[in-house]
Symmetry: C2
Subunit: 317 residues, 2 copies
Amino acid sequence: MILALAGGVGAARMLSGLVQVVEPSRITAVVNTGDDLVLHGVKVCPDLDTVTYTLAGMINPETGWGLRDETWSAMAELREYSRGRLGWFNLGDRDLGTHLYRTSRLAEGATLSAVAAEIALRWGVHCRLLPMTHDRVETKVVITVDGADAEVDFQEYFVHRRHAVAVSAVRFAGVDSASAAPGVLESISSAERIVICPSNPLVSIAPILATGGIAEAVAAVRSKVTAVSPIVGGRALKGPADRMLSELGHTSDAAGVARLWAPYAATMVIDEVDAGLATAVEDTGMRAIVAPTVMSDAGKAAALAEVVLGQEKESRS
Amino acid sequence: MILALAGGVGAARMLSGLVQVVEPSRITAVVNTGDDLVLHGVKVCPDLDTVTYTLAGMINPETGWGLRDETWSAMAELREYSRGRLGWFNLGDRDLGTHLYRTSRLAEGATLSAVAAEIALRWGVHCRLLPMTHDRVETKVVITVDGADAEVDFQEYFVHRRHAVAVSAVRFAGVDSASAAPGVLESISSAERIVICPSNPLVSIAPILATGGIAEAVAAVRSKVTAVSPIVGGRALKGPADRMLSELGHTSDAAGVARLWAPYAATMVIDEVDAGLATAVEDTGMRAIVAPTVMSDAGKAAALAEVVLGQEKESRS
């Protein structure tokens, strides 16, 4: 079994590559839930849904999130009622069906893992998708609001403020008392290979690692762990990972990511444009593999998956 | 000020007549909330919404509930996920916007009255719409399920089972500790005229009367109360009121309704087809007015409103 630690878009693309080179039923993804939120009464799990919809081929190509062939009636009304105050986290009508289903099932007593599996099944996704925890872990970021520091929910920063403000701290509220979801630690221990997907190290991968012994479990099997840098040429392909790294005192390049992930992964794949950073990556104690990492189409995602799983590799060392 | 005790469709039509003959801002409706429910995490207030949408001219003419020009994406997905188990209470996407807004505002600490006023304002409805209570009062009915008595939520009976089963009891759970919403009792006392709308006596008007002193307040001003029979020629124009009256030991005609409402209303308007029941109605101690009561268009609703407010009347006595 191949295990992946997964955030949202970057992880979804990595997984869409992995399923082309490994039987999907042999893949388990442990997915970040630190960005989850309850919006207008309904439970939304952005990373789980992005992974599921992408693997289903149903992701909305226009937005990069949500379902394709979408209508937008409910949010339009919500914005009308609230004169634009509510509805900044946009949810399509079809997508709302997912959240209404999840909310109903959780209210019925189903676990988030069970619901994630049901949603995957409905879309014909055969990977096993495990939320990192069934407990409440909430990513909070400190930003400057009207000249003063304010701690806000991740989505307030990420979506409402379009991550256009500097972050001075990140915290995972509730993580101290959270357990890894059933099956997570066992899957880490028994996996043949583990992939740290090219997701935001600070707000997608870090909350997974911070939860219920996951960091220790991954570190214990470090030799079978390969990470893929989400930073290419000093830039995040999507989202604010590059700026967040700088703002929080890290180096905003593949070597900066390597320093964060070296305790957990023996190998890191960095992009060809970052070949010059391979030594710096290896200085962290990881092996560096240089390969094309930009998954701009399905073929490139599959090729990267093959690199990650070691069926093809180009090592500098 | 004219006050109306209101359920759903019949009350909405009565109010749409009243607003044609009285300045809407002079009308207060006290609306049943016993049918309210939390569905998939969102708070739905069927009677408040039917009244609001009807007065706004936005009621869906095809369904008789919900908004016109509707899409149905969210529920279609929910039914797909649940293989039809969920989604029996159909909610259009635009209508969902109302429920998401209400749910958000309640979570923010707004009262149901405040939210009802905000929703009315957005649709340009100038009547004052008061929920009967801010407390939880839930209409429960006892029906026979698989040969045994079972108490179910009203909407389980009304929508899910399409009220196609016999009811052996009705109860308003929580009513003993519920208070009338702020303004309700004062409005009853100060109203110039009170109208009991042609709504189901047992599950629309009864829960209002049963809540927090409303019955006593209405009885205390009985002389200014006029009721409109929801039963015409022994039949409810909509819904199961006729069958429920029989099933619960009442007479399923205007006289049966009169016996229920005589303590609260000095006058009852009955349909021309029920002219023969006028004596039976008056035997309950009410004055009977015989008039066309079927509000099949706006003009007929306005004409009935004029009868009810006594600007035109044809009394048998």
